[in-house]
Symmetry: D3
Subunit: 326 residues, 6 copies
């Protein structure tokens, strides 16, 4: 068995493997028989897979902490049409073995350098000067987190760099929308898109074993970044009550679309409604794509919490590929 040749998501069902993997998550749970088990999530650059480590001792719990590289003997198995990892053997990687966690993190389709260039180009198109400076200042201040954080704790774009990638995807859609509808203010839409989720760098603890911070729980990412905009205004001597700044803050505050989803105000600007719609669209596609990828052709995926518990069908023949081939 040549370990280097295949990655986690390339194995077939029931094909056994020994792999070094990052232990991304490890939730201790108590079974109804009183014994503990650990719900583990493993990751390598090909993606992630979860499985249960049964009858865990206190020693196991202390040993298998998220963020460690582990050597796993196991196989992919199907559970109600969806794939999970059956753990057959597990130990920590020792110092003579590959054990650098950063080598096992799944990334999005773009490198950080590519994303930075893309963001730089977008900022160039923000021609309104005060928005341009506010956006530039805040992205600079949070740059490392912006390019490393996931876009959400688990629902969508839950990979390293997912926050920046999700942001760039929205701007790409926004360009097409603005091309079709010249009455849209591109500067405002792009500024809002770049900042809309930046508060997640304060709301979330980081890219590994992501949890909510106290600020995240008590304030929430929407208001956290809005407050920073106002602070930047103070630093740059911009009037926070100017129409420009009210418009920009409204873009961020309204981007969840509905009060029920945590926006303190609903969108009352064309651009704010568009930002909300594109944010939802991109998140939905990412959630559905991930779910369908983990599903066998001809089956329904597991139910997606973030899409009202719906499951999605994976057709038996991939029409796309056919048409691509033609």
């Amino acid at each position: 068995m040549n370990m280097a040749e295949k990655q986690l998501l390339s194995f077939q069902v029931d094909e056994q493997f020994d792999l070094f993997l990052l232990l991304k998550g490890a939730d201790v749970k108590t079974a109804k028989n009183g014994k503990q088990f650990i719900r583990m999530t493993f990751e390598d650059p090909s993606g992630e897979l979860s499985g249960n480590f049964w009858d865990a001792t206190d020693q196991d719990i202390a040993t298998f902490e998220p963020g460690k590289v582990v050597l796993v003997r196991g196989k992919k198995e199907l559970y109600q049409g969806n794939s999970q990892l059956k753990i057959m053997n597990l130990r920590l990687a020792n110092t003579s073995e590959p054990n650098d966690p950063s080598q096992y993190v799944a990334h999005g389709p773009m490198t950080r350098a590519e994303m930075e260039e893309s963001v730089s180009n977008i900022i160039f198109e923000i021609t309104e000067p005060t928005w341009n400076r506010v956006v530039r200042t805040l992205l600079q201040r949070h740059a490392d987190d912006f390019y490393n954080f996931p876009a959400a704790k688990k629902n969508h774009h839950a990979f390293a760099g997912g926050l920046a990638y999700h942001t760039i995807s929205i701007v790409r859609l926004a360009k097409t929308v603005a091309d079709l509808h010249p009455n849209i203010d591109r500067s405002l839409l792009y500024s809002g898109a770049l900042l809309h989720d930046l508060g997640k760098t304060i709301e979330l603890s980081g890219p590994i074993s992501t949890t909510y911070t106290l600020a995240g729980n008590l304030i929430g990412h929407i208001v956290l970044i809005d407050e920073e905009i106002v602070n930047v205004c103070q630093e740059l001597h911009f009037d926070p009550e100017s129409e420009e700044m009210l418009l920009l803050r409204h873009m961020i505050l309204a981007h969840h679309g509905l009060l029920e989803y945590g926006s303190p105000v609903r969108p009352h600007l064309l651009e704010a409604e568009v930002l909300h719609d594109l944010d939802e669209l991109d998140a939905s596609i990412q959630m559905m794509s991930t779910a369908v990828e983990h599903t066998e052709p001809g089956d329904f995926s597991e139910r997606i919490f973030g899409l009202d518990g719906r499951n999605f069908y994976r057709p038996t023949a991939s029409k796309t590929n056919q048409s691509e081939d033609d």
Copy 2:
């Protein structure tokens, strides 16, 4: 006063005019004082404007029927920040005057020829052969209506050709989405987009004084076009229970997204969810754009029924234009 020089929406508030206009709608209402008035909507290629014709006699009601060209003396006035037409004098155009209704209908930004070419190009990209034939057959059968009907009775794309224009706009957005997400089946998404609202040609009475037909009221456009797909299958000897046909029908049936909005089934295909999202996005933008256009800078628009009664702010300085100029 040179009538030919300016069109309906080009006049300033309180600037009086004499214009030949199409009487697009004429709803007779009874005021609480027992007298009748007519809520009239006037149209020319620049757009439409509504106003009340007070103290209407039975003779007036019989004379001023929708679809007639009329000569209006009036002016634009503001009512709670929104513009309406104050009718000062009104009579039918006589036979020696311009009186061809088709010259006064507002159209979308594309001509029929342009739209036909655009649709033809889209169909070319549907590489799955059975979907291609079903789409081609149904669009051919309803071609005249498809290129002349509005997309809705009044909420959005309520202009001649709005149905086809709305359809094409969705496909344009769909292309960008598919470029960003190669796992999307373009053939399926485009087929669904082209057919999704075609049932409106049966649900609605036509482009002028649009009402619902009995079939529209009792069946609804979603099921009406779904039934036609099944009938076309019978004609073309395609199995309606094949996976391909189930997928296509699901695209149409699910495109309202929620059961509460009249879809008998929620989207359970990635492409169906995307179609629903793009449909809403395009309709929302069109509704907001129309409302904001009728609003003075620095004011809020009237409340939009189709967007939960929200009103939208028109910023004082058009940022878009600035950035366009740069």
Copy 3:
């Protein structure tokens, strides 16, 4: 122990038995300790009872498939006031033993012959000729399934022939309603009642181990039968846009009453509202009756999912019987 004497639901709590039973359902589940168990449902003509088969091996799972006749040693026990089957021993019936599944299926109170005669009489009362032919054609085409399918996967009338029996019960109620209200169109109400759930023969897989078909999941039984009506119109050269056919299709499409329950249009005909109400009434009574039957006098039944999770009280003394005896 004489096996022939008593049937499944006739035993007292804690009274041990050996019985040949049909294994109606067998859902494999994983307990939180990682071991598998099978949630089994057993059936004989007296009704059905469920119980868990613990610590199931892969061999057990392969052996105990739904549709097989098994020999069960067990007893009825109470779990939170409701009865379940404690499995003490279990094996497949061998070839020398009774093993014909059809002998163990629970049926409704009418035989197929009785139901066929009843349906035939109802059709006779449909005096509108086009409805009569559409109904006759469709019932003939799906006759075997119509008289063998359950009315639902599990909620109500989940016995063989339940679909036809549920349909006939609705018509009986409909007659009383029409007697009380002569303005009701009997032909329309009976036609709608006969066809309203016929789409379930396409939506569901069959009477044993019932699941949803792909057509059921992506289209749903309401639209599936509506499409067939339109196809039959094509065959019989009836105009599907005639008022008669629109009325009939509306009866079917609206019978779930609310958009949230999957009807693409709400009832806008007196007869459609009545059909919806009677459908709900009959399903509710069947669900409540089954739940109360499985409950001891003086206890509350288990909660019924299809009735908002309510439980129902079984009075200590059966008043009905007293009054019947008098």
Copy 4:
């Protein structure tokens, strides 16, 4: 014009008449021009029709009080597909003219004597002795009101005797249901049906110009009759905490089905759920029938508040009559 020959609802649209009618309702409203008008409802045994009396003086308001017989010159006119009365002239009937209000009240299809006999027969079938005595006592105590009150202020069965007629209709349906489902306790279902709305005799002011009493507003008819049941128990020395009395009170308390509709507890008895369903069914049919009767064939009725604002279609050809003739 021979007044005696035709009644209110027999006239064609635009056919002028002079009729003595009961002024059933007279709501004074202020038009937006500051002038008052009276929304009048006229009634004779054929039914009722409403119309506006414009520009009413204080004198008019004092004169035209509900309960008076008036001489009306007017005609039936259509307003948005529904009929209303255009008032051309109006004065009080004088002492030498027919002016007995009781001659002009619309009644249901049964006389009081018929209803009394029917109720008497139902009570005979209540074989549980304590329920029988409670029902008998309460119906006797409220007999005059029970046979004269409407079933609701305006939504349904809003005619004299409507309360008793609605009650009897429910019992007729209940009999069919009990015939189909022998596990239903007839005594309980009939007892609940007979008492369920009896509290309306306390909640409402009476059959003419019906308003809510203070007890109706602050307590509501459901609790008002429940309290009387408990009081009757005290008088008859029945234990109100006996299971029999708890069951009976539950029937009444739960009959609105949902907490949102004012029942303090949801149905937790099979018979209570059935009573609720039949109550809704009978009320719905009565509302729809009245609305459709006031609608021209081929039109939709006005929207019915009590049925979620839905309107109902009246088919062009009355199928019922055809089939009746056959």
Copy 5:
């Protein structure tokens, strides 16, 4: 008629008067007959009363602007059990007449000096030093507005100084609650109470003819004051991410209780839930008291929008007074 002797709310129904009053509100509306009228609200220290000025000319609209003192001849009349002002004559007060608007504004039961002392005492009880300084700084900065603004545009405490009075009332209730529950952090609860609605000084335009500012419409008072807290932290060199500041900001952000009511986060602190409950309680009582005061004994008040459209009964005998007398 001696003007000085009686104030607006002291007159009986139908008792005519000539009074100088402040024109507090003047909304121009168009009646359905096309004519304009002005919905006017008049005020003096005894309270306010509304009435319609019919058939208003453009001249009238220009003249009667909110904020002017006017001389009114009129009388109080009842409209559906509630009192309104019938305007018989109206003109502006001239320069030789009393025309100082500030003399006609209704105030709450406390003077500004009393309120300032009360607030000062509350601040003294905030023993946590950083909260004390933030509260002190912000109240000082907005002092004039805090003691002059109403608490809401119209629903409750809509009098000058209502904002401060509402705030003080909440703290009084808070003291009793904290006395009963010693685990409550008084410093936190009082700090939150003092700041919770301070953002209304930015959200609203001022005490007369109150409208929403652009900041109010696009950001909302909850976030507006939260942003100021963060800015004050910057000035005072407090860490805005310290637990103390997160707790304080959470108190403000969560005080509407539900996301649907505009809080971006629900209360997750005992003190935040209590603040929300007391805020609602005090606002409800103020709304109900005002409505009941305008109602005759034995009648129901008009429906209160802010309390789900409920109306409230005013008992015939004021029990309170009796018991007070005893």
Copy 6:
């Protein structure tokens, strides 16, 4: 180990103890591995703590019945931030050991004598004579239960005497409210407060192992006490339809505030709305306080069902204590 020295809630995490405790609750559950366990709740005057007794035999289930005194060897452990009891050994107390259950029941902060005096003082302030007599009669009739029952099965004030303590707390808040708002009828508010939950003495089975009675399930505590008021009227020869009695009954019937929460009518009296608000406020505080007490500083409590599943943060430093000390 000296048992007498410390009580249940005084032990630190992981500090082992042997204690006599009351077994307050014992719910038998089946683990997914088919074995039974008992979810036990232990109580002494310091409060209560729950823990699981794994692998329970039928003998264990028969032995460990709620209401028994047991000797427990165990320790407090943390489970997801909340404390629970780990059971290491368990047996019934024998006859020579302390085994009087009443010595182990947790009580509220007031003794019965204190509560009786407090209630007596409140009744003294009810100056309306008929309310005074009704309240006095009903409290006397249910006195033992009123001072011994909990206020709810488990959500709040679930300790012996909780019902009376909750009632008294509401009246204390009511006094402050009435002091601030002199238009409130104190007699009515106090009468309603004293009776509002008295029906729980009929709805619930008693203070130990509390369940719902059949009357509780089928009628509910709101209507149960309302019926008793009407019966007391009969005994005292008060007219139940007098305004006074309607007001009092309305106070009780409306006190859940919303129909969805089981009130058959919403509050339509100022005092009824205040009673509802104070009832909710007091219950919320009690629930939050209990949850926070069981939480470590710096953690979030477990989610509270009765507060929409929210969890509450316990700050790291108890601000209250600091300010109390100053």
